[in-house]
């Protein structure tokens, strides 16, 4: 398959306007400005492209939800890529920033939006510097700013650096953060398309989605839709990490078997190992096991398998890895990143973390697994955003799929701790050294 987003991405100097334009960059913006807004939107609609950030909502429909007419509307590119396992936008922004800028300009034109932002996570300093330089270049060349390329369309683009908070990747949390507040998600509805940034209608899309827009125009929406499956059109960047030989970003056609990605492209686990469990779409997706490798990799097949494609981040663990360790990392991550606004998420993530820790210290009983599963049920659907759900789903699936292993872990830790407790009485206060491995940092 010929890559669309990763087409010759390693060409030196592709981050500069000169090289990007030599490859035909910004031609699609020029063409879009000669078309009517409705035609551009129709192309995006025809392509059927679904959001690449996690939720998988159709981009064309999102634009069409924006109110018509001349008003303060905003476009925000979500570059706060913090989902564990995801690093596709990083490579795209670092190597081909102008593709993103062109995509933003075309999308803004389609939605008649004049103020746009890129919200990039604060840790991506190199990528933010590259983007900032690229924006300055594009502005100097008249590709963004007032009266772009001689048309009567004007658009400003501001790069906003975040400061390290996972929740700011959630769209309404991102808007609050962009307004200079703590990144707490908002109640929906009203959805951002009606009332978003500065209470104006706001279009929010992922980097990868927006960067695809120039290619959609180049190929034509209908032709783009021929790639992939009927409901999951196009190509997708997948980030593969963990126990594989060749971790990294790959551009795949949606709908190919997962095995082809994990073994064919990434080389599979190291020699002599097999896949024990894997996350198909970042740490928020319920885990799959080694038996699920033949599921086609697209939005609907993953949903049918009880999990989700999410941001397209595949994390592989081979049979040397303990499920419990990953469970602790997942629980700790969400407990740390919960913004604390909704009680089920704030308390649920925190208590799940504590309960997993209790397994390590030998204080847990198999009943704790049931309690943990019930906590997850009480989180799902009861909060403003899906951060709590994002912990509940993988933890719930781990308890469900690896219950015998977890029960054995509980039993082993209890025996260790009981032995230590007996010694405790003899040598006072040394319990901590015997409490088993507990990575607490």
């Amino acid at each position: 398959m010929k890559p669309i987003l990763f087409d010759r991405i390693d060409e030196p100097g592709l981050n500069t306007l000169e090289v990007y334009q030599r490859r035909g960059g910004y031609e699609m913006l020029r063409q879009a400005l000669t078309m009517s807004r409705e035609d551009v939107l129709a192309q995006i609609m025809d392509s059927g492209i679904r959001g690449r950030g996690g939720a998988g909502f159709q981009m064309g429909r999102k634009i069409s939800f924006l109110p018509q007419g001349d008003m303060d509307k905003y476009l925000v590119c979500n570059a706060d890529e913090s989902e564990p396992g995801t690093f596709k936008d990083r490579e795209l922004m670092q190597k081909c920033p102008h593709m993103l800028i062109e995509g933003i300009a075309i999308s803004a034109y389609a939605g008649s939006i004049h103020t746009t932002f890129i919200y990039i996570r604060g840790e991506y300093q190199l990528q933010a510097d590259i983007l900032e330089a690229a924006i300055a270049e594009a502005a100097d060349a008249g590709l963004i700013g007032e009266r772009i390329l001689g048309s009567d369309f004007s658009m400003s683009l501001v790069l906003h650096r975040g400061a390290g908070a996972y929740i700011c990747g959630e769209e309404t949390g991102l808007l609050d953060s962009l307004e200079g507040k703590r990144g707490n998600p908002r109640l929906k509805p009203p959805f951002p398309a009606i009332e978003g940034l500065y209470a104006g209608p706001t279009l929010i899309n992922n980097v990868e989605t927006l960067a695809t827009v120039p290619s959609i125009l180049r190929m034509g929406g209908a032709d783009y839709a021929k790639i992939g499956t009927e409901t999951s059109t196009g190509t997708k960047l997948v980030s593969i990490s963990g126990d594989v030989k060749r971790p990294g970003n790959y551009e795949i056609e949606l709908g190919i078997p997962s095995r082809e990605i994990i073994y064919g492209l990434a080389g599979g686990p190291p020699e002599g190992r097999t896949v024990k469990f894997w996350f198909p779409g970042g740490s928020s997706s319920p885990v799959l096991t080694g038996d699920d490798l033949d599921i086609p990799y697209d939005f609907d097949s993953m949903a049918k398998a009880g999990t989700m494609l999410g941001s397209g981040a595949i994390i592989i663990a081979d049979e040397r890895r303990r499920v419990l360790d990953t469970m602790l990392k997942v629980a700790k991550f969400y407990a740390h990143e919960s913004c604390g606004k909704c009680v089920p998420c704030r308390e649920g993530t925190n208590w799940t973390h504590k309960m997993v820790q209790r397994i390590y210290t030998g204080e847990a009983t198999p009943m704790d697994l049931d309690i943990m599963a019930s906590i997850q049920e009480q989180i799902i659907g009861n909060c403003l955003c899906v951060l709590g759900d994002a912990m509940a789903m993988p933890i719930g699936s781990m308890v469900q799929k690896f219950r015998p292993e977890l029960e054995a872990e509980i039993e082993a830790a209890r025996e260790r701790a009981d032995g230590a407790a007996t010694q405790d009485v003899v040598a006072l206060g040394v319990a901590d050294e015997h409490a088993g491995p507990l990575p607490v940092h």
């Binding site: 396992g85 840790e123 971790p247």
Partner: protein, 285 residues
Amino acid sequence: MSFGRRHAPDLNDELAQRHGEHRDPVGSLAGRVPRFGHGSRVPGWDDAVDLSKAPAVIPDPATTPVPDDLRREIEAAMAKYPDRRSAAIPALHAAQAVHGWCSPEAITQVAAVMRLTPAYLTSVASFYDMFELHPKHTHDVFVCTNISCSILGADEFYEAMARAAEDEDIDVRSFECLGACDIGPMASVNGEYVGPLELADAERIVEDLNAGRPVLKDKQLRYRRSVDPNVESDGAEFAEPDPVHRADTAGLTEGSNPTTRPNTATDRPGPSAPLEIPPQDQSET
């Protein structure tokens, strides 16, 4: 089977003892849960409020000295947004770069320029991981200890890194996913992503930081090429780009300090980021 408290004593325990809490002898379970006289675990929660104190207000710009560079950067940031409040995060970034951390003085200066209360800015600063509300060392090493990296041994590296950086001017923090799982286990050293790391790299990072040179140049993410086999690796059928844009002639040079970001609002730099030319290839090209 026992359900005793098995964690090491934490900060609250120390505070409790300092506040005169009575403890049972070690080994007794009851004594291991810290409590204050009034039953709370949070010291000072019931201290009386000083009603004679003036409420915190927006600092008077006339009497609050602000470094000129900082003021200019914050004002430029405010001008970029429809609402000046949006510049809170960029302004705090700028203040932290000047002061080293978000000290009360730094917060006051930002508040004076932005016309916001210090309380508001403190609430924002405390929400985000990258703002430090306590004094810190010059250098930052964020070690990713999230799922992918920890599968590949990040926890061991974090411990090695913490040991290597003892008594140095370096802060080592375990961080949530930094978005570079392909080079796991990895770390962000003053914002520069390096990986995959081995235990011996901890010492090298400390040496490089102390010597003031780029950290682990052979392992920096910026030089990593795409692994996708469908990507044509070198763009051979295209003309060679202008040498000005080559990675080895532009971008970070030896000895430059990556912690100071260019003041992009006042002097917009041209394209400066080197791209995908590994150091070992630079001599050949």
